[in-house]
């Protein structure tokens, strides 16, 4: 491997780690507060992508307006899931998981009915790129994803640590009954967590739409990636999810570049299985949530 290829792969891995972190952190947030693994998370990502397909590629709205609308739209989908599925099934975590499988089938069908099964080509919103050297290039399109990830996750971190809502959210994640006894509204925190968690997946989908050619099935590899990350990072740990996203982003990108994509997926899944066997609480700590 030449130095240039190595550096380019590092750049690519940084990009991959970024959008993976956005998706996985949302999934972990939802799991932490709701106690439900959201199988439809990949389809929320897909919905974000299609918001950009419809508003930016088809209607010609400015790219960032489309991304913002996508973020809000997918956040609202999250609210819908909270209200329609997870709230009635609150005492039945496996039920919530199964209901989210039903929801993902519905979202996929809506995408097929609205846009067809073919790949959508979304033109890049900018041709700009940073040229480090001849073989090492970072396009602005990818840079947006990296910047958005850093900004959004930092904002989320501050929000969770500093604001009253953030405290409430973390209290709910630790012990729902005790939080309710302290006067924290379970419904409000659940709504908030679902909105943020879904919106993060949505914004990841919206920002990557010009880079990935959206299809109605695009959520499938994404949810597998997200599972790998949250298991490796430790289910319920936000910091763990970010660290695992970086780890997996690099491992997966390097294996893909050196060998091939299928092997990268196999390696990722093996990593996850090994973590499940050896240390089910994840590599990066956080105690197990019942």
């Amino acid at each position: 491997m030449t130095t240039e290829l190595f550096l380019q792969t590092v750049v690519n891995a940084t990009y991959a780690a970024s959008y993976m972190a956005l998706i996985a952190v949302g999934l972990v947030l939802i799991f932490g507060v709701m106690g439900v693994i959201n199988f439809a998370h990949g389809e929320l990502y897909m919905a974000g992508s299609y918001a950009v397909v419809a508003l930016y590629a088809a209607l010609g709205m400015p790219f960032f307006v489309a991304v913002a609308v996508g973020l809000i739209f997918v956040g609202l989908l999250g609210l819908l899931m909270e209200y329609g599925l997870f709230r009635p099934l609150r005492d039945n975590p496996l039920g919530g998981l199964i209901a989210s499988i039903g929801f993902l089938l519905i979202l996929q069908t809506i995408a097929v009915l609205g846009f067809g099964v073919q790949m959508e080509q979304v033109p890049p919103s900018t041709q700009g790129k940073i040229v480090f050297s001849d073989g090492v290039v970072l396009t602005y399109q990818r840079l947006y994803v990296i910047i958005a990830t850093v900004v959004l996750l930092s904002a989320l971190w501050l929000f969770l640590r500093k604001s009253k809502f953030g405290w409430a959210l973390r209290a709910c994640a630790q012990d729902r009954e005790a939080a309710a006894l302290q006067g924290i509204s379970i419904n409000d925190t659940a709504r908030l967590a679902m909105f943020i968690g879904a919106a993060l997946a949505g914004v990841a989908g919206a920002l990557t739409a010009p880079l990935v050619a959206p299809t109605p099935q695009m959520g499938h590899p994404v949810i597998i990636t997200a599972f790998i990350i949250i298991i490796v990072g430790g289910v319920g740990s936000l910091e763990g999810a970010v660290l695992a996203a970086i780890l997996y982003g690099f491992v997966s990108t390097f294996v893909t570049t050196i060998y091939d994509g299928t092997l990268a997926n196999i390696v990722g899944l093996l990593l996850m299985l090994i973590v499940l066997i050896v240390k089910p609480t994840g590599l990066f700590g956080a105690k197990e949530r019942a």
Binding site: I37, G84, L85, P88, L89, N92, P93, L94, G95, L97, I98, A99, I101, G102, F103, L104, L105, I106, Q108, T109, I110, V112, L113, H220, I224, F227, I228, I231, D260, T262, L263, N265, I266, L269, L270, M272, L273, L276, I277, P280
Partner: protein
């Protein structure tokens, strides 16, 4: 079965009627429906074998991949090693059982949600190996294996059965599945089956009286995988091709939906689920010409059931049973009331 003596004659009559209906059925439907009928019988075995695993309380997401192991195994053995198809089917099923045995060591260290995700990962790894370009020489890559030898004709005296005909293959599947179902039923009613139930509801208690829960979980997984593999083998030699995407997690979703819509507390629950949904799918969706809507239809049904009928269709059966005598009773009461009225 407390009321066995009373309803024995009735259940015999029902059983015979069902048998007659199953034999006549393929002659009453169109060609494409005959094909669906074959697949339905195969799916009945798939979902019933899945239920055996759920008896121990674990929900696997690898079951369809295990079915695929049986399909690939039987296809390769009959094609590359030129074994007779009936033998290769048993060999394929045994490979599926063996794979399950090996997987049980990592997977049964986990429980509940972790088992679900772990089985998902394990299944995806197997599926990716089928797809992997390095393994194309054996598994044929994403396109899979083509030209799988069909089930051989049976020539017995003057009888010559050609299993290329879907009706004949349907009967073959019916026989194989019926035998499998009897075995599955027997296992569930045996001491082993009761232990599975015990592990589901009281695993700590079961352990405390000396049950090795790991071994019994493995046993349930291996048996259920053998029959899943058999259903895969039946599938492979009927369709003639197998490919990795046929055994994707989406297909697994359908098995999950059949099991949940039917219910898994009784032996007939999952069968009820798969038959009802297949009929609805073929009759309603086909008639409306909205095949694209299939996933949405299944998704909506899944959500409605988990919200409003979490124990599945089977939970309606006792209610209906209770309702019919009550109705008879009521009718009788009304009749006597009517008869008494003029007398007053």
């Amino acid at each position: 079965m407390p009321e066995r003596g009373v309803s024995n004659g009735l259940s015999w009559a029902l059983g015979l009627a069902l048998l007659a209906a199953l034999i006549v059925l393929p002659h009453l439907v169109s060609l494409s429906q005959k094909e669906i009928l074959v697949l339905l019988v195969i799916n009945v075995l798939l979902v019933s074998s899945y239920r055996l695993l759920t008896l121990t309380g674990e929900w696997s997401l690898a079951h369809v991949v295990i079915m695929g192991v049986g399909a690939y195994g039987s296809a390769l053995i009959s094609k590359e090693l030129a074994w007779p198809v009936p033998l290769s089917m048993l060999a394929g099923s045994s490979i599926a059982a063996l794979v399950a045995f090996l997987l049980s060591f990592p997977l049964f260290r986990m429980k509940g949600f972790y088992f679900l995700i772990g089985s998902f990962a394990a299944g995806e790894i197997i599926r990716l190996v089928w797809k992997w370009s390095e393994m194309t020489w054996l598994f044929g890559g994403p396109k899979g294996i083509k030209l799988i030898p069909p089930f051989p004709n049976i020539k017995l005296l003057s009888l010559d059965i050609d299993f290329y005909d879907p009706v004949k293959y349907y009967y073959l599947c019916l026989v194989v599945v019926a035998i499998s179902m009897v075995i599955l039923y027997r296992i569930e009613r045996s001491r082993i089956g009761l232990t599975f139930h015990a592990i589901h509801w009281q695993d700590k208690l079961a352990e405390s009286v000396g049950v090795d829960t790991f071994r019994y979980r493995t046993l349930a997984f291996v048996i259920s995988s053998f029959f899943a593999g058999l259903s895969g083998a039946l599938y492979a030699h009927y369709i003639g091709t197998v490919a990795p995407n046929r055994f994707s997690v989406e297909e697994m979703t359908y098995v999950l939906i059949w099991a949940i819509v039917g219910g898994t507390a009784t032996f007939y629950g999952p069968i009820l689920g798969v038959v009802t949904l297949t009929v609805l799918n073929e009759v309603v969706l086909r008639a409306l010409g909205v095949d694209v809507m299939r996933p949405m239809f299944y998704g909506a049904i899944l959500i409605l059931f988990i919200l409003f009928l979490p124990n599945g269709l089977e939970s309606l059966v006792p209610k209906i049973k209770a309702w019919i005598p009550r109705r008879k009773h009521k009718q009788a009461a009304e009749q006597t009331a009517e008869a008494e009225q003029p007398a007053e």
